[in-house]
């Protein structure tokens, strides 16, 4: 591989596209045939075209900083991550299984709590959960589904095993980048789409629409669907707008909606008030309804919970769904799958240590230099400790935090997560990545074809979050039979 950078010589992680001898894996063969057919400098030219395209398409995300909000262009690497269809179908089945069980779990927690009564989940976990909403107790949403849209983070270890790292059940974002990345690739590398059978990803908006439409309380009528955004300064505003546009839904802010004295949600239209049937909310629970949650919220809609409780509006994801999006609850997911579905989990969890248990906590404290420690309820890569890379002081600080609030922390071995070749100075250098597929559930189940591949653009870095300097790649699920 002439294109491979010197960094590959000392490489230990599993590489998605190259085997140990730096030969392209079968699924990636046509891609490398194509890359090798390009003249010197051609790749750099294409990279420039990518940058110009992204700028023109205005694909941005917002970063909060002291000097105000900055609209950043999402870093995009033009070398796709490739996976064979057969492997993907196995993962897809695992994702659907997982979300099905998680929804049964959430519905159980807000109703009978049978899983606690049966001693599978310790009661103290629920008691100390910050994402459990007592206001939702006794509510039975349609189909018993609470998390209609889930973003599951997957990583691959050095032995090739795919693990679930997190289930994002609150307001997961990133799917618009998955869709836009494919658009960019089609604009920049149209030739390669002729020679490789790459499965399309663009049915997501239609699937999302159907998932949401099934929640409408007015059966038989064309539902009015609204995407509720915190507004233009939210980091994912681009996505909110994109999805609304793709679905033909209304993109609304809290102030565009109103719950009248009849407990029905209306939007303020040019001809007066119009009923809304389904809200795809991209606002956290705490800000959703100042009557019930944070009273200071100006992002939400007063009375929304009233309307939802009465069944006058569908809300996705349902308020309170985040109770299963907790890194401590995460460690119980294999048991949750067995308990509700009576099946073995298809996808593996990363082995985890719970600091709430004395013996496991002692192990974590004694091995902080080898472990990754995560707080239970943070997202976006904030507030975690990567033991092997932390200083002594940072580890001491975390040890104190853990002793202070053991329920809030869990730890996992530091995975040597997989890499894929990424364009750096005209060469392909290994960069660590993960994969976030999106799974939908209401009356039916659906999982995306592939997902959003996030890549840590800095050498050696394991942090792929966009808020922490990560970028993304197109993800190709390819038909291996064609090759």
């Amino acid at each position: 591989m002439e294109l491979a950078s010197k960094e590959y010589a000392t490489h230990t992680a599993y590489d998605e596209l190259l085997d140990r001898e730096l030969r392209p894996r079968t699924a990636a063969l046509p891609l490398f045939d194509y890359l090798n057919s390009l003249n010197d400098g051609e790749l750099a030219t294409r990279q420039q075209a990518v940058d110009a395209t992204i700028k023109a398409m205005g694909i941005t995300f917002t970063i909060y900083s002291e000097s105000g909000n900055i609209d950043r262009v999402w870093p995009f690497d033009p070398i796709p991550r490739v996976m064979a269809r057969k492997e993907w179908e196995h993962i897809q089945a695992g994702l659907k299984q997982r979300l099905t069980a998680l929804n049964m779990f959430i519905n159980d927690l807000y109703n009978e709590q049978q899983i606690i009564k049966d001693g599978v989940l310790p009661a103290e976990i629920l008691d100390s959960s910050t994402n459990f909403r007592p206001q939702c107790i006794g509510i039975k949403p349609r189909f018993g589904v609470w998390a209609h849209i889930c973003g599951t983070d997957l990583v691959r270890d050095s032995n090739g095993t795919v693990y679930v790292l997190e289930d994002n059940l609150r307001v997961p974002s990133g799917v618009s980048y998955m869709l836009e990345n494919r658009q960019i690739m089609k604009r920049i590398f149209p030739e390669v789409f002729r020679t490789t059978h790459i499965l399309p990803v663009d049915d997501y908006p239609t699937q999302l629409y159907h998932t949401l439409a099934a929640l409408s309380p007015r059966a038989g009528e064309q539902p009015v669907i609204a995407v509720l955004t915190p507004g233009i300064y939210n980091s994912a505003y681009f996505e909110h707008s994109y999805l609304a546009q793709q679905m033909g839904a209304f993109l609304v802010e809290g102030s565009d909606l109103l719950v009248d004295s009849d407990d029905i949600v209306y939007l303020k239209s040019i001809t007066g008030l119009q009923r809304v049937d389904v809200i795809y909310r991209r606002i956290d629970d705490a800000f959703l309804d100042p009557e019930v949650f944070n009273p200071d919220s100006v992002l939400g809609v007063p009375g929304l919970m009233r309307a939802w409780r009465k069944g006058n509006v569908g809300i996705a994801n349902a308020p309170g769904a985040g109770v299963a999006d907790d890194k401590v609850v995460y460690t119980f997911v294999p048991q949750i799958i067995r308990y509700y579905l009576n099946e073995e989990p298809i996808l593996a969890n990363v082995p985890s240590y719970l600091c709430m248990y004395d013996d496991q906590r002692e192990y974590v404290l004694a091995n902080l230099d080898k472990l990754v420690v995560k707080p239970a309820n943070e997202s976006g890569g904030y507030g975690m400790l990567i033991g092997p890379r932390a200083t002594h002081e940072e580890r001491e600080k975390f040890a104190a935090l853990i002793r202070e609030n053991p329920r809030n922390y869990m730890a996992q071995p530091t995975l040597d997560i997989s890499t894929a070749p990424t364009l750096v100075d005209g060469k392909l250098a290994p960069r660590h990545l993960d994969l976030r597929p999106f799974v939908l559930q209401s009356d039916k189940l659906y999982a995306t074809t592939g997902g959003l591949t996030r890549v840590a653009m800095r050498q050696g870095s394991l942090v792929v979050n966009s808020s922490q300097g990560g970028g993304s790649k197109d993800t190709w699920i390819v038909e291996e039979g064609d090759l």
Binding site: K55, A56, M57, G58, V224, I232, Y237, S241, Y242, A244, Q245, A249, F250, L251, V252, E253, S255, D256, L258, D260, S261, D262, Y266, L267, K268, S269, I270, T271, G272, L273, Q274
Partner: protein, 328 residues
């Protein structure tokens, strides 16, 4: 069905884009006419700042009124809400909130226009030659945007709102430009040579892209009364006030609950048709234009009430718990 907030943003987006283009045209044609002015003749650049009623803001922020400071103020000054840069920036911010109702390419177009203005506005302020090129590019990019509206967008309510914003802004701008140029010319009519007057009227027509049409449709000679009539009353020219009003009327016909707005617009158009322009002196013209601006403002206000605030009338009165109080 459309959100009131979205409707309002569409309307303003169109107004800002139109305003930016009009300002660019005005600067270009003024620069042109300057080159032709005879030795010794002076032109008050500062008059340009009066067009959008921005003269106070200008004098507050700029110690000296010369070509360069006025160009900065009109083209790149972010603290002037009427500068080309500000208008494009507002239009872009509005477009950003409107992506789900506009054709997908619209954001790309408006965004690249914004990037162009951001990166080139300072060049346009420095030299006349570059100014012409940059402003022309802005005008052309804006034309591409209008083309996209016309050719790639469903002619639905969103489209009508854009067209309304464009035509209300355009009609307003035509009255302002007329007002400005008339103010320069009439007070000293006896002193100013006829040729110079004609030049300035040509510039007025040119700033509204109407010089060519005027010559073809009216006359080779530019006379003030004929030019005024052309810009106010001619139903063939798309920047005349009467033409804009008829566009506005046709938009309202496509909009829900618009009876009263249609009437208001038709009345104003009929009133303009009855002006006798060859008997207008400077003061009478100024009064006409003033009234015209007020009446355009009324159409704007009624539109706001009728569409952007319509929902307020639908809220159900909350039943007061008066019984409980009575019992206590």
């Amino acid at each position: 069905m459309m959100l009131a907030r979205v409707a309002e943003n569409l309307y303003w987006m169109a107004r800002f884009l139109e305003r930016a283009e009009n300002t660019a045209r005005l600067i270009n044609s003024t620069t042109h006419v300057l080159l032709d002015l005879p030795e010794g003749a002076t032109f008050g650049w500062v008059n340009l700042t009066e067009i959008a009623g921005m003269d106070d803001l200008f004098t507050q922020n700029y110690p000296k009124a010369n070509e360069e400071s006025i160009m900065r103020f009109l083209i790149e000054d972010a603290s002037n809400p009427g500068s080309i840069f500000s208008c494009i920036q507002y239009a872009r911010e509005n477009t950003r909130t409107l992506r789900e109702v506009l054709p997908a390419e619209m954001w790309e177009r408006v965004n690249s226009l914004y990037l162009y203005v951001r990166d080139n506005a300072h060049i346009a302020c420095s030299s006349r030659r570059e100014r012409y090129m940059v402003l022309n590019e802005i005008i052309q990019q804006r034309h591409a945007i209008v083309g996209l509206f016309a050719g790639a967008m469903a002619h639905d309510v969103a489209y009508q709102l854009i067209k309304l914003g464009r035509n209300i802004e355009r009609a307003d701008m035509t009255t302002r430009i007329l007002d400005l140029h008339s103010a320069i010319i009439f007070p000293d009519e006896s002193v100013i040579q006829e040729a110079l007057m004609e030049r300035i009227w040509m510039s007025t027509l040119d700033s509204l892209s109407s010089y060519q049409s005027y010559r073809r449709l009216i006359s080779m000679h530019v006379r003030s009364d004929a030019a005024i009539s052309f810009l106010l009353q001619d139903m063939r020219f798309p920047r005349s006030v009467a033409f804009c009003l008829s566009e506005i009327e046709s938009c309202f016909k496509q909009m829900p609950k618009s009876q009263q707005l249609q009437q208001l617009t038709t009345q104003l158009r009929h009133k303009i048709a009855q002006y006798v322009t060859d008997k207008l002196d400077a003061i009478a013209l100024h009064e006409h234009l003033d009234l015209l601006q007020i009446e355009l403002g009324e159409i704007h206000e009624s539109l706001l009430q009728n569409y952007f605030h319509a929902w307020q009338a639908d809220i159900q009165p909350v039943l007061q718990p008066s019984n409980e109080f009575a019992q206590q």
